[in-house]
């Protein structure tokens, strides 16, 4: 098992390294220097700027330097949006907001999605199942910006009178300002989880050990909750990894729609403003985060399944 740990983490590190290189090279290949778009500075200023930021050196040397800086925790400085502010400090300020909203969204998605999926599986072929199936398929068919804008229109227009949930994020309002963003962000993962749970549950209910449990004379409730659900949840865990990534990326849109001062919105703005150090820093940071979360989910899965021996060796 520890060998597996090591292998998995090594793999993750390689991936992070490659994503970093890819990010750097892509950003480097983009024509035009970042400060060209506005009023064009003089040759001398340009040369001075290039020299200052090390842009006059060959690509591989720049890459090495960038990697070295990354290891030291130096992600460079913003060139445009908040001039000369360190990318690290931007991330440190904005990521907690994004992470909180993402975590809340994912939590409700799983807490609601799993029971709904079970319900659909028990009622297979019945009316409830059909309704849930349509809702969940619709849920995975609506991009988060559609959900977010529908909510925005509803709560800023028709339901605005109620003044229940603000459409513009304001931390001063406490939990209420989290409701709409978290709902729109979690709707897709919720429906996805429900669908996966349903099929995993049906799969599990078709297994032979369910027949054994029935032959033992167990009550239906016990068969479903003890025998079927536990087995069905194991594959559902594996879908959590991709969902973490999906929720974080969905955050780009949702944060923009609800004006949330998170890393997602900032990232989108930096793309629009071509603030390359910020784009690079944020991409590398988020990619690292997602890859590491995947490793965690993967290990969680191994722990949840007793068939995988945690003590060394195994069979």
């Amino acid at each position: 098992m520890s060998k597996y740990f090591a292998k998995r983490i090594g793999m993750a590190l390689v991936t992070i390294f490659l994503v970093t290189c890819l990010t750097f090279l892509l950003m480097n290949a983009v024509p035009g220097s970042p400060w060209l778009s506005e009023k064009s500075p003089s040759e001398a200023t340009l040369a001075a700027l290039n020299a200052k930021y090390g842009l006059d050196k060959p690509v591989h040397i720049q890459l090495m330097k960038y990697l070295g800086n990354l290891l030291k925790g130096d992600f460079g400085v913003s060139l445009k949006m908040q001039k000369n502010r360190a990318v690290t400090s931007i991330i440190a300020e904005m990521f907690p907001v994004s992470a909180r909203i993402g975590a809340l969204a994912l939590t409700w998605a799983v807490l609601v999605g799993v029971p709904l999926g079970c319900l659909a599986a028990f009622k297979r072929g019945k009316f409830t199942d059909s309704v849930l199936r349509v809702i969940c398929t619709l849920g995975i068919s609506m991009p988060s910006f559609v959900v977010a804008s529908v909510l925005l229109v509803a709560f800023a227009g028709g339901l605005a009178v109620l003044k229940i949930f603000p459409t513009i994020f304001d931390p001063a309002l406490g939990w209420r300002s989290y409701v709409l963003p978290c709902f729109s962000l979690g709707f897709y993962p919720m429906c996805y989880t429900a669908r996966q749970t349903r099929s995993a549950m049906l799969d599990s209910l078709n297994q032979e050990y369910i027949k054994t449990a029935r032959a033992k004379g167990l009550k239906n409730v016990k068969i479903i909750f003890k025998h079927a659900l536990r087995n069905a949840l194991i594959p559902v865990i594996t879908y959590l990894g991709p969902q973490v990534a999906f929720t974080l990326c969905g955050g780009f849109v949702v944060e923009s729609v609800f004006s949330i001062p998170g890393l997602g919105r900032y990232f989108v703005q930096s793309i629009q403003n071509r603030d390359y150090p910020v784009i690079m820093g944020t991409t590398i940071f988020l990619a690292t985060f997602i890859i590491l979360m995947n490793v965690v989910v993967d290990l969680l899965y191994k722990v949840a399944d007793p068939r995988i021996n945690l003590t060394k060796g195994g069979e």
Binding site: M11, A12, V14, T15, L18, V19, L22, T23, L26, M27, A29, V30, P31, G32, T137, L138, I140, S141, M142, P143, F145, V146, S149, V150, L152, V153, A156, G157, A245, F246, L248, C249, F252, V253, V257, V268, I271, Q272, I279, T283, L286, A287, I290, I291, N294
Partner: protein, 449 residues
Amino acid sequence: MGEDKKMKRCPVTLQPDIENLLQDLSADDFSSASAEERADFIQERKSVSYWKDAWRRLRKNVVAMVALGVIIFLFLFAFVGPMLIPYGYEQFNKGAENLYPYHYTLEDQQRLDAEVAARTQSETLDVDQLIAQAKAEAEAKGEKFTKKDEAVIKAQAKVAAQTASDTPEADPNVIRQELGIKKHLFGYSVDELRRKAAGESVFPHVFGTDMYGRDIMVRVMYGARVSMAVGICAALLVLVIGATYGAISGYCGGRVDAVMQRFVELIYSVPEMLVVLLIATALKPILTEYVNSGGNSPMKAFVNILGPNLISMFIAFGVLYWVTMSRIIRGQVLQLKQQEYVTAARALGASGGRIIRQHLLPNCIGQIVVTTCLQIPSAIFLESFLSYLGVGVSAPLPSLGSMATDALSGMYTYTYRLIVPSVILSVMILAFNLFGDGLRDALDPKLKK
């Protein structure tokens, strides 16, 4: 006689008509049956081919068939629709800016204007009356009516008049309701209504127009066309790359497979959306620069025709999204490799490529079709996501995603601009998802019986 005795000897018999059964037996019955008679005996069930069976099941699936109908409709909408509409997606229709998807007839508009004018007129008349009244009151009290007082009253009246037009009395919507003016379907500008009245045939703006007077329906059609094209092309791209890679990896096995799978694992752990976003962001300017750099090579012409946006998106798909497909194909190939007919083909000296083409791929075609079909909606999903963020398909070509972004600024007044592309996008993805699900149910041999 003898029959009765026999009955006693077989007490457990359950055939209710045992007597009849034994009564009319002839000696011939106990002669042995010929081969033909035996052959006739078995009524063979018609064997149904895999595809026929799958098609039968698919046809029975109402949801999937409705979804297929919707897909066909959207297809016609996107590819035939623009030919029927006399507007271009980039055509600015002057005088037809900001049209709602409904209109009022010319007469109704005149009645409304008259009514509004009448009401606001009465408000302005009141100001002089108020001043005269105040003057009289002041004089009666023996106070001096100053210019200042007059100005105050005027200002108050002005504010009152302004708010009056917002209050129910002068609100056009309220007046329309009072006058019984009804909305009529589709948007027409005043100019277009006049031309229509003059007997010209004018095509309506079914979904209204945007702030530049561009017809939203045409733009939505083109957006749907882009989405579908991206979805289908991306799915095919993924299919070709994934199937080839998976088939080779599974077929070769051994060390080749190990190395190839290591690479798949690597790609698998890359956060796709993020990297696609990055690739789309970076490739667009690179490709634009490449196209604009002058010179004429076929490659350049190709890039120019498709546009840098689409190409960068396809590259992103081609680089990252084939892994799932390749895993499925590899699994199937590994399973099929054990089967006798492959061994037989090998023994007959068939080449590796031939075995893959002739024996392996046809057997995993079901899974390939389903995975490809479900790849389409996810590609459309991603395209709209990128376009929404402004790094996907971009101006002048419309995309459902970018239309939704553009609509955000005026979303409370012109909600339909947000709703129309969003609904079409969602319905499109939904239809593809439902159809893909139906296809999976129909083609999955595990659910057979």
